[in-house]
């Protein structure tokens, strides 16, 4: 089935971005309004498509639109086409919906910034690129969107590029993403080489004929790409520094949408991972490692945005773990992705609201007892907090517990290991999220007299309220009657196997609740009962020190990649100067030297010249003499 409206999903925000960038300062007065309206229009088109989709039968829900024939080189044929099926409509609604709410939030948040118009242009650019990413019908079209969101992320992280650290953070994000992009390029190349096609439909059709080795290679390359974009281990070092961008950016890109592109890629390539069990297991392991990694870092961060960033890293680890658990796990990964989009974006907006009220202070040690001054922020943030730690009946309870359950039910050693890791992660998540909430909103005030915390304007708290509603209700909505699982089943699990139930769902839920309560209790004791020191204490255990240094991720990258790279560059520069330039200069010196030696033959005397001629003639005769020998 074709639809002519799909291109408008992308074209509307793209047009907005281009117009705002080209119009320049002239559009400062109305640029942000136009951008928000275009984003809302895109959401409208998405809603319309969704309603149309609902009215159709299960197997006819996908619509496609071919824009033009893009690449036609020999046997490599790629069309610029868009496809909207049950998986991508989830993302489309999430991107445009949450995106529009964040556009509205940014009108107020960035109202004092003279570059607000440029900010909205970049936001629209991001929306367009992300939509292209999820709507593309081939890996190559996805790649265009992939690069586009990388570009938008770079532009937005380094938005306040007057500060060198922010610009460096943007570069760091871009470079780490680039490493992942290499993985995607290689996956496309291998796919073309072994399967002859790069479109999703084509690969799905031919996946059965390729060797397991080729499919495993493609799967691993796709995993590399996903780790880059979604800040998973080992390419996770950029996410913390990406908090240099304005808070709406962190909410939209680094919580709800861009960092979930990796999960989208894995779920979209389910036919590859299902045929390559090794790659799938690797996906699950990476997810498990990252969820613990991010959780440990989150425990030691005093910067509210960095703590939330670590939390994002950990939650995406859950999604990747879910995606690595096979056909039964894909739907739950997507479910957690959607619910996470609500509560994490809501918490980031809440953090932005707190920062706005506290004059851009980010250190939680200088907060304390803010719930009296920012009630709406406290309420929405609190609802998001309850969702993330998995308290029923909020969203996270349904999605996270399902992942833990599927992990355990995999059976065997890996099932127990992964399940335990997920459970432990849940405990730590409860601990550090409670720490964030308590340090910020509860306890005694630790801020000095200059700050005057106040509630944010309406344009800021209305989106927060809407997202909090999502945090509350979305979990129940997605699970009621297996709605999301059935919705996605034509795309991800054509024939779901019935999983052996090692643990009943109720058992898993009780275990999860228990560990969550333990985590909450420990955090309460440490941060609510005891006084929170305003300055971070120095005599802490070595684990805390390592966690404060982001589990030495930057040190590792520097030692293993950066310094050898620098040494290599220096060696190359020295070689270039000494060897290559030296060779060129040496040729010049040689010529000059030869010339100054040969100069001495110019004596000016005719007779010596005559002698040279004679010697030359003798040489010739000698040559003839030798030849006639």
């Amino acid at each position: 089935m074709t639809s002519n409206l799909l291109v408008y999903l992308i074209a509307l925000p793209l047009f907005g971005s281009a117009l705002l960038l080209l119009a320049g300062r002239k559009s400062d007065k109305w640029g942000h309004i136009l951008a928000t309206l275009l984003s809302a229009a895109s959401f409208g088109v998405g809603l319309y498509e969704f309603s149309q989709m609902l009215s159709r039968a299960n197997d006819q829900r996908a619509v496609s639109q071919k824009l033009f024939s893009w690449i036609s080189v020999g046997s490599f044929q790629v069309d610029a086409g868009l496809v909207l099926d049950q998986l991508s409509i989830c993302f489309v609604l999430l991107i445009t919906g949450v995106g529009t709410l964040i556009h509205i939030y940014s009108i107020a948040y960035m109202s004092h910034d003279r570059d607000r118009r440029r900010f909205f242009a970049y936001l629209n650019l991001f929306i367009a690129a992300m939509l292209l990413l999820v709507l593309g019908d081939s890996y190559l079209n996805l790649y265009v969107g992939w690069e586009g969101v990388g570009l938008a992320s770079y532009l937005l992280i380094g938005f306040w590029n007057q500060k060198p650290t922010y610009a460096t953070a943007a570069k760091k994000a871009f470079v780490a993403n680039r490493v992942g992009d290499l993985g995607l390029s290689l996956a496309i190349m291998i796919s073309f080489a072994t399967l002859g096609t790069v479109s999703f439909a084509g690969v799905k059709a031919h996946a059965g004929q390729a060797s397991t080795g080729a499919l495993t290679a493609i799967g691993i390359m796709l995993l590399v790409a996903a780790t880059g974009k979604s800040a998973q281990f080992p390419l996770q070092a950029w996410l913390g520094d990406a908090m240099a961008g304005p808070t709406p950016v962190s909410a939209l890109i680094h919580a709800a949408t861009m960092v979930t592109a990796g999960v989208y890629l894995i779920v979209r390539s389910n036919f590859i991972f299902d045929a390559a069990p090794t790659a799938q297991l690797l996906v699950a392991i990476i997810g498990a490692i990252t969820l613990l990694f991010g959780a440990v870092i989150g425990m030691a961060k005093d910067d509210i945005k960095k703590a939330l960033a670590a939390s994002t890293m950990s939650q995406i680890g859950y999604m990747v773990l879910g995606a690595g658990l096979g056909p039964v796990g894909y739907a739950f990964a997507i479910m957690h992705l959607l619910t996470h989009g609500f509560f994490k974006a809501g918490m980031f907006l809440g953090a932005g609201s707190v920062m706005h009220g506290m004059d851009d202070e980010v250190n939680m040690r200088r907060y304390g007892g803010l719930r009296k001054f920012m009630p709406i922020t406290f309420a929405t943030f609190g609802l998001g907090y309850l969702a993330i730690i998995g308290v029923p009946p909020f969203a996270g309870f349904y999605s996270k517990d399902k992942i833990i359950e599927v992990a355990f039910n995999m059976g065997g050693v890996k099932g127990v290991t992964l399940g335990t890791a997920a459970l432990l992660g849940a405990a730590i998540t409860a601990f550090y999220m409670t720490r964030v909430v308590v340090m910020t909103f509860a306890g005694n005030k630790r801020w000095d007299e200059k700050a005057h915390p106040h509630e944010s304007p309406a344009l800021m708290w209305i989106p927060m309220v809407l997202l909090a509603l999502g945090s509350v209700a979305s979990g129940f909505l997605f699970t009621h009657g297996n709605s999301l699982v059935n919705w996605l089943s034509p795309v991800v699990a054509p024939n779901p196997e019935h999983q052996s139930e090692m643990l009943k769902p109720a058992v898993v839920s009780i275990m999860a609740l228990v560990v969550v309560l333990i985590g909450v209790a420990i955090a309460m004791m440490k941060y609510l009962r005891a006084e929170v020191p305003v300055e971070a204490p120095e005599n802490v255990s070595v684990f805390t020190k390592i966690a404060r240094r982001d589990l030495l991720q930057d040190d590792f990258n520097e030692a293993v990649f950066m310094r050898p790279g620098l040494k290599l560059t220096e060696a190359l520069v020295v070689t270039d100067n000494a060897v290559i330039d030296g060779a060129v200069r040496g040729v010049a010196r040689l010529t000059k030297g030869t010339g100054s030696v040969l100069r001495y033959t110019q004596t000016g005397f005719v007779r010596s010249y005559a002698m040279w001629i004679l010697l030359g003639a003798i040489g010739l005769i000698a040559a003839i003499w030798v030849v006639t020998l």
Binding site: Y600, Q602, T603, F605, V606, R607, A610, M611, L614
Partner: protein, 99 residues
């Protein structure tokens, strides 16, 4: 006797002439040595004419003689001119192209 003996004589005369060009300093003596070289070549031509049995070698020698005469005329005129302006007939004095 062997006609080649004339060729040896011609070779020796040629060598002497070429060394003379290099060794002597007086311009006119250098010129005379050049003439000696030309004459040696003429001798060789005439000898070969005799060896081959046709007169082509003699015709060549004839032309060589004519050209040598022209060359002597012009060369000596040049030497006289140089002598008039520089008052010296030594080839070593014309060394302005020294480095």
């Amino acid at each position: 006797m062997n006609s080649a003996n004339y060729l040896y004589v011609a070779a020796l005369l040629f060598t002497i002439g070429s060394i003379g060009v290099v060794v002597r300093r007086n311009a006119i003596v250098v010129f005379m040595c050049i003439e000696l070289m030309l004459n040696a070549a003429n001798l060789a031509f005439v000898t070969f004419a005799r060896i081959n049995g046709n007169l082509d070698g003699q015709v060549m020698a004839f032309f060589t003689m004519v050209v040598a005469a022209c060359e002597v005329v012009v060369g000596l005129a040049i030497i006289v001119t140089i002598y008039r302006s520089r008052r010296s007939a030594s080839v070593d004095d014309a060394s302005l192209l020294k480095r």
